[in-house]
Amino acid sequence: MELKHVNYGYPGSENLITDFTATVPTGKILSIIGQNGAGKSTLLKLLMGAISPSSGSVEMDGHAISTLSSRQRAAKIALVTQQHQVYDEMTVKEVVKTGRLPFHSLLTTISDEEVRPFLETVNLADAKDRLLTSLSGGQQQRVWLATALAQEPQYLFLDEPTTYLDIRYQHDLMTLIQQLNTERHITIVMVLHDINQALKISDEVWLIKAGQLIQAGLAETVLNEQLLSNAFELPIKIVNIEKYGPYVIQLTS
């Protein structure tokens, strides 16, 4: 997947994304980091084809993503966002079944059997008949992940998936994501707030600021005090923790 000289903005206001050119590494884990409002989520939407660039192009396997129908896109790219609510009671399996919709006609009823493997992957097979709202935040996030997996995507996009989760759940979720990447070769693209989490789990990192790419590359290349301080407009220091490795801390007086 490739972004070529992508600009995006609303007419009459400043661009949210400016001349963005980068390639999503196939089969790897990519994290996008940067300040709030730097354009991380906009970038994900562009990559998904949910919005179209004002100029430039977003391509998947050599074809512009905008030429695919929304169902075709949904069968290749799945998205997990920060927790969202449902408007009425739904059981876990009912939510996950919606992930199978790209493969069926609009009016089909989907069987329980069809979604079982995805519930098993996220370890929720026993909870299939429970109401989504009766689950903990971490479990709910796994339901959304199972829904995304039910799309059998080549690309899994995660928009701040660990927000609202405690560190234990964050760890579990990240482990699961790594597993999906190594075992099923799903390309992962994540927007993460936590720089350390991003650097630890990712093969590649895009550091962005004000809609522009300031550094793309292996996690190590982004581990640079000056670069990070500039991107976040904060004094940042990298320390070395024994048995962990480099750790980014923010120095505020």
Partner: protein, 320 residues
Amino acid sequence: MMKERMAYLIICMALILTAMLALMLGTQFYSLSQLWQALTGSQSAILSTVLNFRLPRIIAAMIAGGMLASAGAVSQSVFRNRLADPTILGVTSAGELFMLVGSLILPAFALQKQLLALIGGLVAFALLANRKTLRQPYQLIIVGVALNLTFMALTQLFTKGINVSSALGFNGITWSSVYSLLITGFIGLVAVLLMAPWANDLKLPDEQLSSVGLPVSAMRLGLLALVVYLSADVTAAVGTIPFIGIIIPNIARYFVGHDYQTILPFSMLSGAWLLLLVDTIGRIAVLPSEISAATIMAVIGGPFLIILIQRGGFHGIKAR
């Protein structure tokens, strides 16, 4: 599962029982044996009363009840609001207004009432549905109630001195209007059952729906068109009958759960039963006169709505 089957069994039995009672009761009481004799051909006077007056009315009440209940359930899904219902949101009163104004200023044409009610309903929805009302459940209800009152007042303004109310209601309904209600209603109800999975899908946020490739706006518009079709069709035949669309789906949720693929068929059956019951009671309560089903429904529906709100009728459906 067990509870669900019991609920279906009970409502089917209640429907059959009430229909039989409705055939028997009226200005003249007929026993079951009299009805049987009429059917077998030895009591032609009874047969004529039953065939010309009671049966068309029973069928009309059942189909209209089923249509109103499913219109209510579907609009609750589309608006993501358990209190949404075309009859209290001004959709049907707009239909009535358009029917009236149309009959005054337009020459008569085929399906005039149905088409005018449909246009009126669409106008009401256009005024009703915007970003704010879709996000704020209470705002939707308040705007809807205000629209409803406005359309009703406008209708009254136009009817001053002209008696049009006798044209609507179940009293004196003819076979020809029953036939057209049956045919159009059947089409609408089949469409409701086919589109039931969409009502379930709309429980998810729009963002999630588009990420699994669903045409959210098209689905929502399709369901809304169905709601307008159903409620306008009933309004054209028998006028506005309020609250069935709120009472029935909410009771249905209690008995058969949250899945629209079971809520909708159950709502059809129980809507048919409730309207038939109410109409039959209205028919015999103050003999030789009668009380309209709409009046009785308003009397029951108001308090039900209040109880629903106070007991947290919004449970699970929140403003975003």
